[in-house]
Symmetry: C2
Subunit: 886 residues, 2 copies
């Protein structure tokens, strides 16, 4: 289907693409739009299904569209007088900036060049259009490598003795165009068709085919976008930013997309066309600094347009424009790619300006992107001297091993180490390694908005524009001043400040700013789901509650308390001894360790809920590694060592071997361990309640709960609950206190979910442990899967998402649904929570909210993400999918 731009609008974005739809909207807002038409995405799909053939019928309709443009402009496509030139641009329904083809100046041939000279009296303009047209055609239609054209340009610069394209004369440009034609002829054995109709067919085909270009596919894979939709094509009359010094092209963000300040941010190039501004050969001028002075009339109209479009779309816009002989034309507008910082600031500001509601502000910020806001920064106390300073392209500080290309990045990543990808530029081919990189260092200074968008959305810290960095691919090193850094050496980059450091510099996590606090307080007013933190140490508890606003601790993993270097030996000794008196003494020492932790935690929480999970992992997790131990013992044996130390080591090896399990994930752990070794449970329960009594005696309110891990059978739950109740009651009785507490079951194997009705009889609450529940429901060991097959599955799209990151609604979620329904039927007052990494994933949070789960619990630094996601879930459930009340 082909329709005129005047009939396009945003509610048809799926068929018309973002660009086409936005052009229709701008037309209706009264903005100056070059006339044109849109070829729908359905035509692209038909084309691709049809083996890459454009039907004659479609071509006929396209020519009818051209005839309408001719009518509106009073020009003739391919005409010997007042020739009409066209732009043919891609535009899918979802933004894929820079990934597909755009063709300009269509309609050029020897005849129309002369006609343009004749009409404008500007031979330089005509030949400029001519050489641009030839170059784009060569690349887009003939699929030639851009580098050959670039070399021809550089050669022409040298010959002309200039540095910048606008200094080339019409003669130079004419010769350049001829050289381009030569390149095409040489490589393809034929030239550009002179018939403008054939050119149009070629152009539409090129745009359609670019939907499936390798880079477009990679882009969609990375963002998990469907491959089947296809792109629309926008065909418009050309407007010329290269028609003399009173013409220009530019693009502008209505607000600053990095920091969010309410000030336009953008650049323009005088005497330029199309994507030249992003090619980085000339230094652009700043819209906010110079446009009003250079083009007062256009600048005023742009200001009006920005206000109109922000009001219409109610979000920050990125607008592309062309100024032709002082008059501005609008070529595109779209929602700006903002950093998380900018997203938060503009949303809060717009709510303050009354442009959007607070609910909309809350909905506006994507919780996933908050990771960036919460990213790490260089520890101010680190006192590291930076190698150089560029500009911050994407916030956050990170260290990693240097990779100079995508292959090396993948190799380092596969060995599970951090990677900083170091590249000369930020062209698509430079960003191939983005997925594997933890951070990017780009030497060049001209980063396109496309590259920024890609990097920022991936949440990777990035430093760019470090001209003193030179990369040597021969020796696989880069050099700054007199420091040379090889591949696989560690560097640290700070995307916040633009600084680059040699070696590993200590980083710290950030706290959150003013606008963010405001947004989160709005979110808290909206959400109904409780948000708690998973925290195992007093310091983590403090961060969760004080820094990130958790309402309590949903999961305190007691085993983590034993993992510190000075504590582990006590735990190891407990596992290794079989002497009851020694066991009792070691348990006492562990109890004191736990008590001192709980004392601090209760004080920090000051009455907020604390859910303590009983010891969960298999005992062998506390044991030394078996391989080095075995080789030690064998070495000592061989050397005939028979000391006491040898005996101890042999005994240790034997115990470690006997504790070894084939599948420890499914072995003697969780409540099974507590049932076989009840003294451990008793010690833990005593520690919780003695601390709780101490705190209460000091006037600190406490709210303890105990969580029983790995319940699979109701009798396990009943038995352990009885042990807990007995120990708690004895402990409190000895202190003459009676502190309310609750006992819950951790639902982390499928059978627990399937027998929830029975479990509910013995539990005050359920906590869904979705990490292990995902492992057992899928039958996937996370330790093994990610590098052995899950990575392959995700790349090949066998799975659409990693179920350890996003809760699987069909399997794991269905089990949770069964458990919630059965549990509540058996005990309507049953309290329900979810702990696990899914606690901060927005789609998983939404799932929990819909099910009526009472709280989610996640890592401390993700608590803000969860708070925001919970508010969005509430709004979406209240107002339908979009979540907006309007």
């Amino acid at each position: 289907m082909i329709i005129p731009i005047e009939q396009a609008s945003f509610d048809r974005v799926e068929e018309l693409g973002l660009k086409g739809a936005a052009l229709g909207d701008m037309f209706r807002l009264g903005l100056e739009i070059p006339p044109g038409f849109i070829i729908s995405t359905a035509e692209c799909r038909a084309f691709l299904d049809n083996g890459g053939k454009i039907s004659d019928e479609m071509m006929e309709k396209a020519l009818e569209g051209v005839a309408e443009i001719e009518g509106k402009t009073g020009r003739t496509y391919g005409g010997a007088e007042r020739p009409l030139l066209l732009s043919v641009r891609s535009g899918a329904a979802a933004s894929m900036p820079g990934m597909m083809e755009t063709m300009l100046d269509l309609g050029m041939n020897p005849q129309t060049v002369l006609a343009l000279i004749n009409e404008t009296g500007d031979a330089r303009f005509a030949y400029d259009c001519w050489q641009r047209f030839a170059r784009i055609y060569g690349r887009a239609v003939f699929g030639l490598d851009a580098r050959e054209f670039d070399e021809a340009i550089r050669a022409q610069f040298d010959r002309a003795g200039v540095q910048s394209p606008e200094r080339l004369s019409h003669e130079h440009l004419k010769r350049l165009g001829e050289r381009f034609l030569g390149i095409i002829k040489k490589n393809r054995g034929r030239g550009i068709p002179s018939d403008p109709r054939e050119q149009l067919r070629d152009a539409i085909e090129a745009v359609f085919l670019s939907w499936n270009s390798p880079q477009a596919k990679t882009y969609r894979n990375l963002r998990r976008m469907p491959h089947k939709n296809g792109t629309a094509v926008v065909v418009q009359a050309m407007r010329f930013g290269n028609l003399g010094p009173d013409s220009a092209v530019g693009s502008v963000f209505t607000r600053n997309p990095i920091y969010g300040d309410n000030k336009p941010s953008g650049n323009y190039l005088i005497m330029a066309q199309g994507e030249e501004i992003q090619e980085g050969r000339r230094t652009p001028r700043s819209v906010s600094d110079h446009l009003a002075e250079d083009f007062p009339q256009a600048a005023a109209r742009l200001r009006e347009a920005m206000a109109l479009l922000e009001k219409h779309y109610r979000t920050v816009q990125e607008i592309e424009f062309t100024i032709e002989r002082g008059k501005i034309y609008f070529l595109q507008t779209r929602d700006a790619e903002c950093t998380a910082t900018a997203m938060v600031k503009t949303a809060v500001d717009m709510a303050g300006e009354g442009l959007i509601t607070r609910e909309e502000a809350v909905l506006r910020v994507s919780p996933e992107s908050l990771g960036q806001l919460l990213f790490r920064y260089i520890d101010p106390e680190a006192q590291a001297r930076s190698l150089t300073r560029g500009r911050g392209g994407s916030p956050g500080a990170v260290y990693g091993l240097v990779a100079l290309d995508a292959a090396k990045a993948k190799q380092i990543k596969d060995s599970r180490r951090e990677v900083v990808l170091v590249r000369p530029d930020a062209r698509p081919e430079d960003l191939e390694g983005l997925a594997d990189a933890d951070g990017l260092l780009i030497a060049g200074g001209n980063m396109s908005g496309h590259a920024f968008g890609l990097i920022r959305r991936a949440g990777k810290p990035c430093v760019f524009s470090c001209p003193d960095i030179s990369i040597d691919l021969e020796s696989r090193t880069f050099t700054v001043g007199n420091t040379t850094v090889g591949e696989e050496k560690a560097i640290t980059i700070d995307g916040n400040t633009g600084r680059v450091y040699a070696g590993t510099v200590k980083t710290r996590e950030t706290t959150i700013g003013e606008e963010f606090s405001a947004l989160l307080s709005w979110a808290d007013e909206i959400k109904t789901l409780g948000v708690r933190g998973n925290a195992d140490t007093p310091e983590d508890v403090r961060r969760a509650v004080e820094d990130f606003g958790a309402e309590g601790i949903g999961l305190c993993r007691t085993e983590a308390m034993f993992m510190a270097a000075n504590r582990l030996p006590v735990m190891q000794a407990l596992v290794l001894t079989e002497e009851p008196s020694e066991q009792a003494e070691l348990l006492d020492r562990l109890k004191e360790i736990q008590k001192s932790d709980f004392a601090e935690i209760f004080k920090t929480l000051n009455g907020r809920p604390l859910i303590v999970r009983l010891l969960d992992p298999p005992l062998h997790e506390f044991m030394p590694d078996i391989d080095p131990l075995m080789s030690d013992v064998m070495e000592m044996r061989r050397n005939g060592v028979k000391t006491e130390a040898m005996k101890l080591k042999e005994a240790l090896l034997q115990r470690v071997m006997s504790n070894r399990e084939v599948n420890p994930m499914l072995g003697l752990r969780g409540c099974r361990l507590g049932i076989v070794r009840p003294e451990i449970i008793r010690m833990q329960v005593e520690a919780v309640f003695e601390s709780a009594c101490d705190a209460t005696a000091e006037g600190t309110p406490v709210w303890p709960s105990l969580l029983i891990p790995l319940v699979g059978h109701v009798n396990e739950l009943a038995l352990v609950r009885r042990m807990i109740d007995e120990t708690a009651s004895e402990t409190m009785k000895a202190r003459g206190m009676d502190i309310p507490y609750s006992v819950g079951a951790l639902i982390e194997v499928p059978r627990a979910a399937l027998t929830a009705a029975a479990l509910a009889e013995h539990a005050d609450f359920f906590s869904f442990g979705t990490n292990d529940l995902t492992q057992t429901t899928y039958g996937i060991s996370r330790d093994d899967a990610e590098h052995k097959f899950l990575g392959h599955y995700l790349v090949e799209r066998i799975m659409e998402y990693n179920p350890f990151h996003k809760l699987d609604p069909d399997g794991v979620g269905r089990l949770i649904g069964i458990a919630v329904a059965d549990g509540l039927r058996a005990k309507p007052k049953l309290f329900l929570g979810l702990s696990g990494e899914h606690g901060a994933d927005p789609s998983s949070v939404e799932f929990c909210h819909k099910l009526g789960i009472h709280y989610i619990s996640c890592a401390p630094h993700l608590v803000p993400v969860a708070r925001l996601a919970a508010a969005q879930a509430a709004l979406k459930l209240q107002f339908g999918k979009g979540g907006s009340p309007q």
Copy 2:
């Protein structure tokens, strides 16, 4: 509640117990029953709940019952003339033979002894009753050790110079009674109350308390019977088998309980009482050989009674009787404990006699017990010379390490080796180690029906009556002739022939007999569920189909084809090489191996269905063990070895290490492996279809299916199915054939069950792999669980059954139910099967039948069990719980 025997009947068995209910039935059948009454199980529960006190109210009612007996017999309880003596016997609703107390001759005191002498003129009889009464009282009421009484008897024998109790004079018996009283006084400081009412209270209490005796509890634990029910008490007028040479006690099976011949089998003792026949001090006489001669009138009446009772209960009965002065009284009848052989033979015979229907015959045989019929026998070609020959007490041949007591048996079992328990006798204390034993060797020749029942029901081979065996607990050995065998040495016993062998003798599996074939053919007519075998080799396929009647192969595990010693190296090489050309060559060799197996299998099956499962286990299962390999490499390194062999070994170690997984059960295996290494799938599919084409070309019909293991996501299934379809179609096309086949999904992780609707779109059938599905649903690794905690769970009754033996209906079963319902909704023609060890467990088979699953598949030798269980399931579903049409 207390009711007269006349009012009892079998439909009140729960309140009145088996013994009481049967007595009521016999009364109504006109058989001679000593008058009496029954104290219900509810009274026992009240007694136990009430802290072990008999209420005065109940005691009053009991005395009213006694008064009624007095009225019917014309005797007086404790009377100075014609005194009434009573028996007080336990009798629970479920048979617990020998586990609880029985008291006889109640009402004895100095006065009644004299009255009895006076009445009968038989002082020996009176003092015989007197000493029996005292001995039982001492044991049952005062809880004294039987051995002290036994020693007193032996001392009395010595003093009197006799060998057998019936040769003791009335003086001897009087002195024996006095000695018994002395033992009681010495140990307890008081004597037996002379008031018969107090005796009655003591007796009832003793019976009630014996419900919770350690042996009774152990018995119930072993058989998973509930502990809460309590026992009833039967109080009856005594009839005396010791009233002179025309009196006797005995018991008889209406048919042979070992072999099932339709011929009474039992023994009696003249001048004896109660359980004397089971004490083994005297040699009993055979009912079939002598009773008609010794007691013609009683024998005739017994024949009538046997016919009547078989007709009434429609099953083999075990009847206890007393003959008093030539007249027979019936004291008990119950369903006989039969060997599986006898169960099958009697059921088939009874159906032939028209006593029961064929359906009833099918229902009559417990599928669990068929294991015995299918037990192993000594390989006739083994040519072993036996140490000695006793009698076969329970069929089957087994070898194991000698244990002389329960503790040693447990110790050997815990180390996962087989155990033969060797004991002097088969008293309850001798059988303590039964649960841990794989077989029993009993030196003594007098085995009670109780002991036989226990051992046979446990399905343990047993040899008894080897008088030449002497056991020495000091040296922990036993001796036969001049061979001495120590504990933990291997012996072999053959419960079929009674032979005992030193060392390990080769055993073989049995084939099935005539009656069994008849029964199974009836079962096949009744059942609707298909029964297939799990078989991996041509020989297993032959056994499943030809020996055991499988309808096809439900699971052919291809990996097993690679496990043979001459095949494993090829598979190992495939895993270890990274050279593509070498891989291709090795795959070809594996294909030829598989093809030759499939060729034979297709021939054997001759058109019956064959389901081939693609490679399932993780590759490291084919690898050598890591520990010895590592120590080899380290040794070679230390010695500075730098040969080619060393390099190979190091490379091997590295590959083995890199294939190692933390949780292999949940790792790279099943279809995941096939997706990552598709060449393995293609090789397997080619092997199947090339063989199928070969067979077809030779005129053998084939029916192949392929089963995709470990499916968790619909895309996995779709992808592998596409690979199968493509390879199959290419292979058949090359041969110009088109063989129908189907492709199924193995449902063995919860997510497969939960997403069955989606899977059904891509599968022709589902096979539920309940072994792995149980592992993942419970989150239990079977490799680790059984000895680490599952054993503990079963002993402590935290789980009522082992879910790897019996399908868990609440968790695993619920998932299967979801998958069946969703799968059939999506594809009504979906074919459904179950493979896994549950395929032969009757309750699991019943579960499958009810769900509408189409076939089950189990190990070849369990196929008959499954056929029978399937028929029973069909009958039960048709006719309600009991399954009987009447």
